[in-house]
Amino acid sequence: MTHSNLAADLIADRRVPFPKPHFLAAADLNPPFVLALLDLADAFVDLNRSSTKALDLLGGRTVMNLFFENSTRTSSSFEIAAKRLGADVVTMPVQTSSVKKGETLIDTAVTLNAMRPDILVVRHGASGAAALLSQKVGCAVVNAGDGRHEHPTQALLDLLSLRRAFGDVGGLTVAICGDIAHSRVARSNVALLSMMGARVRLIGPPTLVPGDADRWGCEVFHDMREGLKGCDVVMMLRLQLERMDGALVPSTREYFRFWGLDREKLAWANAGAKVMHPGPMNRGVEIDSDVADDLSVSLIQDQVEMGVAARMAVLASLSARLETGA
């Protein structure tokens, strides 16, 4: 029996129907299902590392990637995930300029719905856009990032990366650092990590941390030294360039001085602490290359690999639900 056949058997055993018709937010998951999903994703990691890399779990299904915002990483990740599961994949980069109003978005949804896709993967600049689409189409919708709201598959792949690095996420102290205010990655991660028993801290300048973030069940710090003390994981966030020009942060050099992760700041965290970043990175702004490229501390490359496996797990679970006719 080949390695990929073993993986295929494992996947068949571990594949469970998704608990909800759509995957819009971290709250659509529950702890036992998250564990099941991670187990399934682990099997997909093995499959992806084998020479065959393909299964026919989504044969005959159509997955539509609908990206209203520019994306390379997430869009490719979903596309590869769907293709490896045997789905017909259509990726549609939509110009944001032509789709600004809710009404137009709904028109788009109705049009696409008429093409009978099975799974719609959506990224949009407006918070709540994925949820709105899900109400207007007859297929499963996966939120690939909606405004500042959520990016649940990113949180799932981060969780997978952490579980593989540490064995268990429960009891870990994770610091999410940087532009919390505008980050959907932060929101999804706070929800999912907390759900799975991790302690979450938020660190960033006061202009980039929402005033009510302390009510998210996290500790909030504005000082990296204080915030990183006792942390096992340092998750850096991308800082949008337009926010670094004196509007919310005075300059990139000041940001890097106080909140950019380098060796010195990493040393304030626990020994053996791991570094994460959802990408794409602003080297020398939120993270120093020296840290980002050091495979002994950086999980950043792992995150990309785990992204494909986690999304395969999500698509496989959603299709399992579709098969049950729910």
Binding site: P206, T207, A247, L248, P250, E254
Partner: protein, 425 residues
């Protein structure tokens, strides 16, 4: 090691409320012993004060110079000489230079230039926004690290509430102090006097006093929202003082400064369009001046500043409305402040507190006290000595003193900075 003892002095220490006979011993620029009452201190050099007042050196938190960018008005050297002569041992340079002090290199430059003079302590206030444009946040963290004591756009009001709110929030990460001039920019636009009968009679465009209150209400609302440390820069009206008192009552961490000019003059002094009284904020009615004096007495105001603003003759020899606002004040600060003691009946310690311990506490400086371990920044002065202010004799490059020709009381006999004598009369 040389040691210096100043004995037989009248010690005035607002930090401990001590006003009585005493002596101090200074070693390596630091006060090592303070004796209350008569005491014989041994030192390599002993100065017998002969009963003169010995107080902490004055700390002036609002000093404008022309260096860099407008050196003919004032240089760091002329300002430092002026400060030393006036008993001011620490000056805080405003960021409205050219270029503006809006990055750490500029903070460092001014501090180094100041230190090289070996006169008084030259410290810096950084700009809150880049080029003081009121829009783009300046590098508050890096400037704070470089030694900037607080952040302000000076006379430029940050009109955009969102910008100021973000600056306050951001600065709180460094526990940095933000200072703002309370002046509604639209009501104050083009104004050279306070609205009222006098301004109308003189035909001068005036801004209503409520322009200050309106802006202060906004600033304090943002302070409440962001939790920033905040300084009301140059409060000048009774209405604004009431707003400040209410905010303090709500537990807000808000301090206030007042310029010596607004404690000593009122709008009547404008009289026959004398441009040395063209100030910003403009001079106010007597009722406001009286309220400001009471606020100093009560401790509602933490700092009295000289609001030192050099303006050369070519900027002042103009019609009132076209003249540059501002007045020099480093050298006249002490005798002018002592007029509050002599003429208004304020206790000497209450006059000295907002000139020494108050600003030191506000800015986190070790100076401003006479106690063991504190830097030996001290002044010896004769509080009753009559002086006639002669603007032409001022060490400042610009001579625009509204006190020119005034008879005051109080002369600085000696200024000591870090144990070094930098001025003797």
């Amino acid at each position: 090691m040389t040691t210096l003892a100043i004995v037989n002095a009248r010690l005035l220490d607002p930090a401990t409320d001590y006003d009585g006979p005493g002596s101090v011993l200074i070693e390596d620029g630091v006060i090592t012993r303070v004796e209350h009452g008569a005491a014989a201190l041994m030192a390599t050099r002993v100065i017998d004060a002969g009963g003169l007042c010995l107080s902490p050196g004055l700390i002036d938190i609002r000093v404008r110079t022309g260096e860099p960018g407008a050196e003919p008005k004032e240089t760091l050297k002329s300002a430092s000489l002026s400060a030393a002569a006036g008993g001011v041992t620490t000056i805080v340079i405003q960021p409205d230079t050219d270029p503006a002090v809006d990055d750490p290199a500029m903070v460092d430059f001014i501090q180094r230039r100041g230190a090289a003079l070996n006169l008084v302590h030259v410290r810096v206030a950084g700009a809150a926004t880049r080029s003081r444009d009121g829009q783009r946040m300046a590098e508050i963290g890096l400037m704070h690290e470089a030694g900037a004591l607080y952040f302000t756009d000076g006379d430029h009001v940050i009109a955009d509430s969102r910008v100021l709110s973000r600056i306050m929030a951001y600065a709180s990460a460094f526990n940095a102090l933000i200072a703002c001039r309370p002046a509604d920019p639209w009501l104050s636009e083009g104004a050279v006097a306070t609205s009222g009968e006098l301004a109308t009679r003189l035909g001068l465009s005036g801004a209503p006093a409520i322009a200050e209150r309106i802006q202060l209400e906004r600033d304090l609302a943002l302070v409440e929202q962001t939790g920033a440390r905040f300084l009301v820069d140059q409060i000048s009206t009774e209405a604004a003082l009431e707003v400040l008192a209410r905010a303090r009552g709500r537990g807000l961490e808000v301090a206030a400064s007042v310029s010596i000019n607004h404690l000593c003059f009122n709008e009547i002094d404008i009289g026959d369009y004398r441009t040395f009284y063209r100030l910003d904020p403009p001079l106010r009615p007597e009722s406001d001046r009286r309220a400001l004096i009471e606020a100093v007495r009560d401790g509602l105001i933490e700092a009295i500043t000289s609001a030192h603003t050099p303006a050369p003759a070519e900027d002042k020899r103009r019609p009132f409305a076209e003249a540059a606002p501002g007045a020099v004040g480093l050298e006249t600060l002490l005798p002018a402040a002592l007029s509050l003691h002599h003429e208004e009946g304020l206790d000497l310690l209450d006059v000295l507190r907002p000139l020494t311990h108050g600003p030191a506490t506000l800015l986190g400086l070790e100076a401003g006290v006479i106690s063991a371990g504190a830097p030996a920044d001290l002044i010896l002065f004769d509080p009753g000595a009559p002086v006639v202010i002669d603007a032409a004799a001022l060490r400042s490059k610009s001579k625009n003193s509204p006190f020119d020709g005034r008879r005051l009381q109080g002369r600085v006999e000696m200024t000591v900075v870090g144990g070094r004598t930098v001025h003797t009369s």
